[in-house]
Symmetry: C2
Subunit: 301 residues, 2 copies
């Protein structure tokens, strides 16, 4: 199998993640290897004009027929149709990966299309994002110092896995592997539930009669807390549809704790409320240490 | 009554808010008017050495006896003891204000101490903050472009109100007035509930067996969503203790909506989930427009 520098790489979906991947690979000197596919002709044209990619198409089939690596940078529930479109035209050496936030659904989609997930299919998920979406928000350093999780299956081809690992490492990410179901549970807790809560809070408040006034008196804390509620609705609809079970499991633990807190509020239980605030502050301190330790691993400019 | 430039101003509590107020007033040329009181001798010494204040004390009584304006920059539930300490030593012309996030509790404290809230007491709350606390986090521009809410009572002295208004306007804040109860309901929605949710989410996740691993795979969205969970625990215990009723009222609306969302997740209701995400994104866009419009009012450097 070719290594990354000799591979033709097709990025299907030139949004925030696909676009950032293209920019990162381009910065690593791989522009000549890159083709992009999107329905958004303006984004494709911009990437070509910027020298980020070498070619583009609005249809996956032509560039993918000669690809060594296809990256599906699409919403979770668009993966199945993309795999079905690729099935008749891919040659057997082509490696496929994706960037979706729910891995069991992507593996299930591959099984529905191919009977079994192909050995050259490496499910992946870079842990990076932004509330902004589209190629205009793409950044070459989006993955630098971040984790990229791969969830290979027992029969996944080790060479295919190595190629996808190289793809993310060249973007500055730290590649880690874990089982599909574990990924989906961890992401339900750290990403899917927080997004659900942010969307829900903004929606609850905006449906109050005086929502304009409420927003008028909100400050920076509210802005940060709700930042992720500005994320792409199609992407998040798909995530909530496909990781509902794991998200409900952690939501139920959270609502159980909230119900107890509600009692503490009504009973003016000073110890319980102080305990909550101080434990949470301490836990978040540990989280920041973990984030900073990861950032320290970043190569210098 | 003296105007602000001729007033001796005592700031009781040189933490994030009191310290930022001192820095803002100092930048406005009022350092010579400023005395600060705190138990933290190092913070007082630092403010004096920086030329931010002209004098300090570790006890309120001496500086407040000759003060024209006393600003109680203390946690909500410390206000009553401070008022009781001030009662025997204040002269009748001294204006008192505070910065606490729950106004009905502060007014009730004034009533308990004085029989009725004094006419020269102007309850106030600058809508600004940070998850960082203490004088070290204080910034002269913390209030610039922000709202500062005053909740005068029907018998509040108009001259006292004008002096406190001048205090915040000189810091660059836009002063608005509203009734006490309305303030507490609005803040429950925009600040107290979001803080409760952030504290609760971090606490729920940190009590899972694999919390270290969960935090390891969290990214920037989680960091922003939980930023406010690093806020001062004593201050927030006091807020939750004193604004529990209004916070529970909006928490109940939120939990009602969350329970419906839980059903949408379990039923894989694509329309409901897309509706949630797109409505929330749109509402947050309106909120950002309001924030930006306020920022545009800022004076240029």
């Amino acid at each position: 199998m070719k290594n990354l520098a000799r591979s033709k790489i097709v990025i299907a979906g030139l949004g925030l993640i696909g676009g950032s991947l293209a920019r990162a690979l381009s910065r690593a000197g791989l522009s000549a290897n890159l083709a992009a596919v999107d329905r958004d002709a303006a984004a494709l044209r911009q990437a070509l004009d910027e020298g980020v990619i070498a070619e583009f198409a609005e249809d996956m089939r032509a560039p993918c027929a000669s690809a060594d690596l296809v990256v599906l940078a699409l919403p979770v529930l668009s993966i199945e149709a993309a795999l079905a479109e690729l099935k008749p035209i891919l040659n057997e050496n082509t490696v496929i990966t994706d960037v979706a936030s729910v891995k069991h659904e992507v593996v299930a989609a591959a099984r529905r299309v191919f009977g079994e997930a192909p050995a050259r299919f490496v499910p992946g998920h870079p842990i990076a994002g932004s509330e902004r979406s589209g190629y205009g928000a793409a950044r070459a350093d989006l993955f630098a110092g971040r984790k990229s999780i791969l969830t290979p299956l027992p029969h996944t081809d080790p060479q295919a896995l190595a190629l996808v690992r190289e793809l993310w490492e060249i973007c500055g990410a730290e590649v880690v592997q874990m089982p599909v179901e574990h990924h989906d549970e961890v992401l339900a807790a750290t990403s899917h539930l927080p997004h659900l809560l942010a969307f829900a809070l903004v929606d609850t408040l905006s449906q109050q009669g005086e929502s304009e006034e409420i927003f008028r008196y909100a400050a920076g804390g509210f802005r940060d807390f709700t930042r992720i509620a500005s994320s792409d609705p199609v992407m998040w609809r798909d995530i909530f549809l496909s990781n509902g079970t794991a998200t409900v499991a952690v939501l139920d633990r959270f609502m159980h704790d909230l119900t107890q807190l509600r009692e503490s509020l009504l009973n003016q239980d000073a110890d319980a409320l102080y305990g909550l605030c101080s434990r949470a502050r301490e836990s978040r301190g540990r989280f920041l240490e973990i984030l900073q330790a990861a950032a320290l691993k970043l190569p210098g400019e």
